[in-house]
């Protein structure tokens, strides 16, 4: 199929790998930021193709995975009000909160619906004025503009029965937190292609000045990722640390200025707790006070809700690249997609689920099982 086949071509892939082998003189540890990139790497077995010295560790860029336990608990609490229709992106429904998930709330009679875009939630709110419609807005800078637009539109229309449980997260502060950790092993980043489509890559130049770490903004197809890895290794081997853009067909330096405008109109930067990682300063987006009337957290009085994460889950270590999913004693046994202990096992973009879904046979073979 056009625009896909050319990015999944075996011959070109083998060519890039051969070049990678030629250029690699020593081991390097690279991190892909996005869950979507992790998914592609696992789904196409790209880890199988790389030279032995190149190690990929999987970053925190899965929105489902890093949404804090208490945010899930808040959504569950809000959805359990009989006058509420909670509208969410599909993969949030299976994420375990402290004691239940949204699928079970739905089965128990809660009105929980799945949409593909927040504008559908707006439509539902207009058509059902007697329902309190709450949109569960999670995700990175990618989903934030559309969610901001929905709130902006709701305010303009004077829609009284629409609100948003907003728990957006931002990529650059997460990279800063990873790089500042004394245990950091990452020597180069594959930057988040979709996030940079919205935000551009100006912010990533600051990170390079701060940490002298190469960042290559990468796409999501197999050849995008192989090319980004080659560009990173080339920089590392040559002793450079720059921002480079592999995903030129989508990403520009400035990004999408109109999307950024609506985003900053509606949201402000705030401190945010990340599941598995903990609090990261100035790493989230929340509604500005001008839009407080649309803040579900305030409207339903869930602001004080807190929750502790299960002790056995090592998702903190996985999401920061310190450990691989297979290093976890619960992986594939006590923790599976049917019974996830932590969020990385829930979404197919979570590192643990991607290993479980696509690589289990290779893991079994390497362990002689």
């Amino acid at each position: 199929m056009k625009y896909l086949d050319e990015y999944r071509d075996e011959k070109i892939a083998r060519g890039i790998v051969a070049e990678l082998v030629r250029r690699t003189t020593r081991p390097w540890v690279l991190m892909e930021i996005c869950g979507g990139q992790t998914h592609t790497l696992m789904r196409y077995g790209i880890d199988e193709m790389l030279p032995a010295g190149i190690e990929l560790v999987h970053g925190p860029g899965c929105p489902v995975c890093v949404t804090s336990l208490e945010t899930i608990d808040k959504a569950i609490e809000i959805a359990s009000h009989l006058e509420v229709t909670l509208i969410s992106y599909g993969d949030m429904l299976r994420v375990p909160g402290s004691h239940t998930d949204l699928f079970h709330v739905k089965a128990g009679g809660g009105d929980v619906r799945v949409v593909y875009s927040p504008t559908e939630a707006l439509k539902f709110a207009r058509a059902n004025p007697s329902r309190k419609v709450v949109f569960f807005a999670v995700g990175f800078e990618t989903t934030a503009p559309a969610n901001a637009m929905a709130v902006w539109q709701a305010k303009r229309e004077g829609l009284k029965n629409f609100s948003m449980l907003a728990s957006h997260v931002l990529v650059p502060p997460a990279i800063r937190a990873l790089m500042s950790s004394p245990r950091n092993r990452v020597q180069g980043f594959i930057g988040p292609g979709h996030v940079c489509t919205v935000m551009g890559y100006r912010e990533y130049e600051d990170l390079i000045r701060e940490f002298q770490v190469p960042i290559v903004v990468g796409g999501f197809e197999p050849l995008d990722l192989l090319e980004a890895i080659l560009m990173l290794v080339t920089q590392l081997e040559e002793g450079r640390a720059e921002v480079e853009n592999q995903y030129v067909r989508s990403v520009t330096f400035e990004g999408n200025l109109r999307a950024q405008k609506v985003l900053t109109e509606v949201f402000q930067v705030c401190d945010r707790k990340w599941r598995g990682i903990g609090g990261i300063p100035e790493s989230g987006l929340s509604l500005r006070k001008e839009y407080a009337e649309f803040d579900a957290d305030r409207l339903f009085g869930t602001e004080g809700l807190t929750a502790d994460e299960p002790a056995e889950c090592i998702s903190a270590e996985v999401l920061q690249g310190h450990k691989k999913p297979t290093d976890c004693s619960a992986f594939g046994t006590r923790c599976t997609p049917e019974n996830p202990l932590g969020a990385p096992m829930v979404s197919s973009e979570g590192a643990c689920a991607a290993y479980y879904l696509y690589r289990r046979h290779a893991i079994a073979a390497s362990e002689g099982r």
Binding site: D91, L93, P96, A107, G110, R359, H361
Partner: protein, 353 residues
Amino acid sequence: MPQETKLDVAFNCPVPITAKESILLGHGSGGRMSGDLLRNIVLPALQNPMLERLDDQAIVDVGGSRIAFTTDSFVVKPLFFPGGDIGTLAVNGTVNDLAMGGATPLFLSLALILEEGLAFDILRRVMESVRVAAALAGVVVVTGDTKVVEKGCGDGLFVNTSGIGLVSSGVRLSADQARPGDRVLLSGTIGDHGITILSQREGLEFEGAMASDTAALHTLVADLLGASGEIHCLRDPTRGGVSSSLNEIAAQSRVGIEIEENAIPVREEVQGACEMLGLDPLYVANEGKLLAIVAPAAAERILEAMHRHPLGRNARIIGTVRESHPAMVTLRTRLGTSRIVDLLSGDQLPRIC
């Protein structure tokens, strides 16, 4: 907040999530949750070897005749969609379940569960589809039932059909018959039905005209059985898609199955929709396709027989049964690497970004 305006979502409940005992939508997905439901609740109550084969149909001996018997319920939203409607599905689905056992379908039952308020006109249109589909498939609806439920207790119309057919004495098809070396054949493009329904339901508009592939497959099956006696298993990959059917065969035959990504035919518009929504066509439902597990020597002959039938023109050999990694399905990707094609837990969920 008064107590009665809230659901009892227990924040102090110590029970793990999976121990909550109620049906979730995922139990109807055809994936691992559906299998667990059967194994944990349904089968223990009804233990018998015919049911435990978990084939699409049971084949029972009645007075020396081999009778295939099956039942299927149809709950689809919207009731009408490009390529068919709930009536067409209800006839073809049951005809196909019989055909996958190698049976000649003969008689169907039809049970209608009607929701209060359903327009007569809708029911008339569905019944006309049932009539046409049954005539095309050469089956007769000989018995039936109607029930009406209160408004809000059904989705307009639910349909159940059961069917019986006759199986020739030499035919033995079952999901436990796959042998290492066997080839895996697929009769055409995958994902057409599921993506058509999804895009209709969600009001998503994709380029290109998509339609459900709903069709009765028994004449295709008859042609295949006529071409070779070395067909070991047939399955129509409906709910849960090709991956679920192959996983069931791999588990029941205790073999591995390896398929080739490059060999699997997917229409461009279906592939495009799947890419946009983050879905894998291997898990999307089909209503007019079959998978055949056949002896290696007979594979080409059976493929040619498929190609001669109008419903098998796009048939391909997509894989091979292996001795290695029993009960697991693997896929050789277009990059030449390999990955697992697992049974999904519940429904495929579109991803966030």
